[in-house]
Each structure stands twice: as C-alpha cells, then as structure tokens.
C-alpha cells in the first residue's frame, strides 16, 4: 500500500515537472501593433517594453506583414511572463506623440459589408462591365521584364496589394473593396494578358488607372512580374 502511494506521489511529481518542461521555456509571440506613427515610435515601444518586462524584441515588421498591421515579435520565458502581461504593458506605453500603443485585435477585413441600399444604388450608378480585348504580350525577355516590374510593383502596387501580393497592403483598408490577391495570376498563360493589361491601364472600382502614368512597356513589365508572384502558403 505504501509502495503504491509512493508511486502515485512520484508519478504526480514527474507529471508536474514534465508539463512544466513542455509548456515553459523561451518562446516567440507576435503582436499586431496600433499607434506607431513616427520614426521615433519603434524605439519608444521597444525600449519601454524591454525595460518593463523580461522580454527581448526580436523584430518589428512595419510593412511586409500578412495583415497590413505592423507586427512586433517578442521572445520571452513563458514561465516568467505571459502573453496577456505583455499585451497589458504594451497598452501602457506612450508614444512620443502622446497617445498609447495598443495590440490590434480587429477583423482582417475592417470595413463593414455593403448595405442593401448601397447595393441597389451601385447597380444603377457604378462601373459597368467591360469587354477586355485580346492582347499579345510584346516582351520576349520575360525574366528581365519581371525584374523591372518588381521595382515598379514596390513603388506603385505594394501599398494596396501588399509586398507579397496578398491583398493586405498598408493602405488596403482605405477603400470599399479589398485589393485582390495577386497570386491568382501566377504562371497563367497569354489568355490573361489582355485582361491584366486592360485592368492596369484603366483601373476599376478602387484600382487606379495606371495608364495615366506608366508607359505601355512599364505595364507589361508589371504583368510579367505579377505572373511570378506565388502564394507564400504553397
């Protein structure tokens, strides 16, 4: 009986120790941050957080994130600090401009769905369907063209479509419609050339008409680049 009792006690002890070994330890967590508005903001956030808690700031990704929100990556000992504690401390840190930071929890698509009344009105006064001409991509050296297009993409498209082309650029939340995920065009054939060229040239709904500022060759370079964008999840 004594032996059985000792066995249970020991098992319980090892179970506790074991679970601690599994659940505690150095981990990394990501936080979407609201309130970073000036070049002084990142330093203010990092230094205050590291001063308040036993944590190490690994990275602050401002522009190339999955959601468009800046992402702070923090390393900490989960036995000593919790995610909730870090979130609370972030909420208490003041930006040099006077406001406090906040961990963002909003939905990915921030804007409300279109109301029925809007839907009816848009059907009467909105962009109408277009016929897309068949066009032949005149550029033969696709690799060099895509390389030029990549630079154009960063300057013109990434703010809405995201640097990865995932449709969640930093400015994506400023419109009624959400920018498209561009990897749908990955490796598509010449049948999509006319459509893409028309769309980039004319724009539609919240997409601007880049035919006003980009030359035809520039637009083909962009198309050649867009066709190389892959879904990072694949």
């Amino acid at each position: 009986m004594k032996k059985i009792f000792s066995f249970i006690i020991l098992s319980f002890f090892f179970l506790i120790m074991g679970s601690h070994a599994v659940f505690a330890g150095t981990i990394e967590e990501e936080f979407k941050i609201e309130g970073l508005i000036s070049p002084a903001s990142p330093k203010a956030l990092k230094s205050a957080l590291e001063k308040e808690l036993e944590v190490k700031v690994i990275d602050l990704n401002l522009k190339n994130t999955k959601t468009g929100w800046p992402v702070l990556t923090v390393q900490f000992d989960s036995g000593a600090v919790s995610r909730e504690k870090i979130e609370n401390v972030i909420g208490e840190i003041e930006d040099p401009a006077g406001h406090k930071y906040k961990v963002h929890h909003g939905p990915l698509l921030a804007n409300a769905p279109i109301l029925d009344e809007e839907e009816e009105a848009i059907a009467i006064l909105g962009d109408t369907a277009e016929v897309f001409p068949n066009m032949k991509n005149p550029i033969t050296d696709k690799a060099a063209s895509a390389s030029r297009g990549g630079k154009l993409f960063v300057n013109n498209c990434a703010k809405c479509h995201g640097l990865s082309g995932n449709g969640y650029g930093t400015v994506a939340h400023s419109f009624t419609t959400w920018p498209r995920q561009l990897w749908v065009w990955n490796n598509t054939g010449e049948e999509t050339d006319g459509y893409l060229f028309w769309f980039i040239t004319n724009g539609r709904s919240d997409m601007p008409p880049f035919g006003l500022i980009l030359s035809e060759n520039n637009r083909w370079d962009l198309i050649n680049y867009i066709k190389t964008i892959k879904n990072p999840g694949e």
Binding site: L125, S174, L212
Partner: protein, 155 residues
Amino acid sequence: MVIKEDFSRRKFIRYSVIGGAVVPLLSGVPYENEVYGGVFNAPKDLENLTEIERIHLPKVIMPPVVEDGTQASIVVSLDHPMEEDHYIKSIQILNFADPVVIKGKFYMTPVNGEAFISTQIRLAGGEGTVWVVAECNKHGKWAANRTVNVAAGGC
C-alpha cells in the same frame, strides 16, 4: 525673425491661392506615352482646342500651393452638355504619389444639369500631380492634371 519669416510665407501662400484661381486650367504634366493604352483622350494642341476637345477637357481649379494637406480644395467642371444621349458619366480624382491614390469617383446623370463637383481632399506633403478623369457616355475618358505643392502633408 521667426514672425517675419512666417508673415512672408503666409503672404506668399495667400497670393498663390489667389493666383491659383486664375492660372490656366489645362494640363501641366505630359502623359507618359502617346496612346494612353488607347483609353485616355487628351487635346493634341492645348492652344487650339477643337470643339470636341473643349467640351471634354476637365477644368481643374486648385491652388498651386496647398498649405494644409488635410483640406485641399478642388473644383472640377466641364463645359459639356448633360443631355439624355450625351452626358458626363463620372469624374474621378486621383494622385498617384499619395498613399491613397483614389480620392473619389463621382457618378453623374443628365439630371445634374452641369458636370460640376467641388470637395476637399487629403494630399501628402511635397510636390504632386492631381489627376482628374472625366468619362463621357459617347466619347470615352478624358484626363487633365494639376501640379500642386503641399506645405503640410495630410495623409
């Protein structure tokens, strides 16, 4: 010293704003290419507009110097008929240099009587080009632009 500088700057902006209302209203920046993807029309000779060009070219009134980029006033109008079979369908305002390129698109009908819109937009700081595209139901899209300098960015 500071007051003096501020005074002269204000004076300059005030005169610029007044001047902005009377400066020529035609395009200031050339198009990147000549065909505009076969979509956007523009006058061939700004000094000698044909009748078709005259009625379709958007007139854009903006001060050349915008002091506050959060409240940049813009007025767009066209000398175009607004008749059942010939009217301006929409006027779009954009600035490609800004983070939010499209400011707005204003859809119209013949009941508007005149193709006219006045509003206020946000512009980023520095020099930029505001584009206006007007779409006629018969004669396609026509573009014009204005170069503006924004003293304090508003994006």
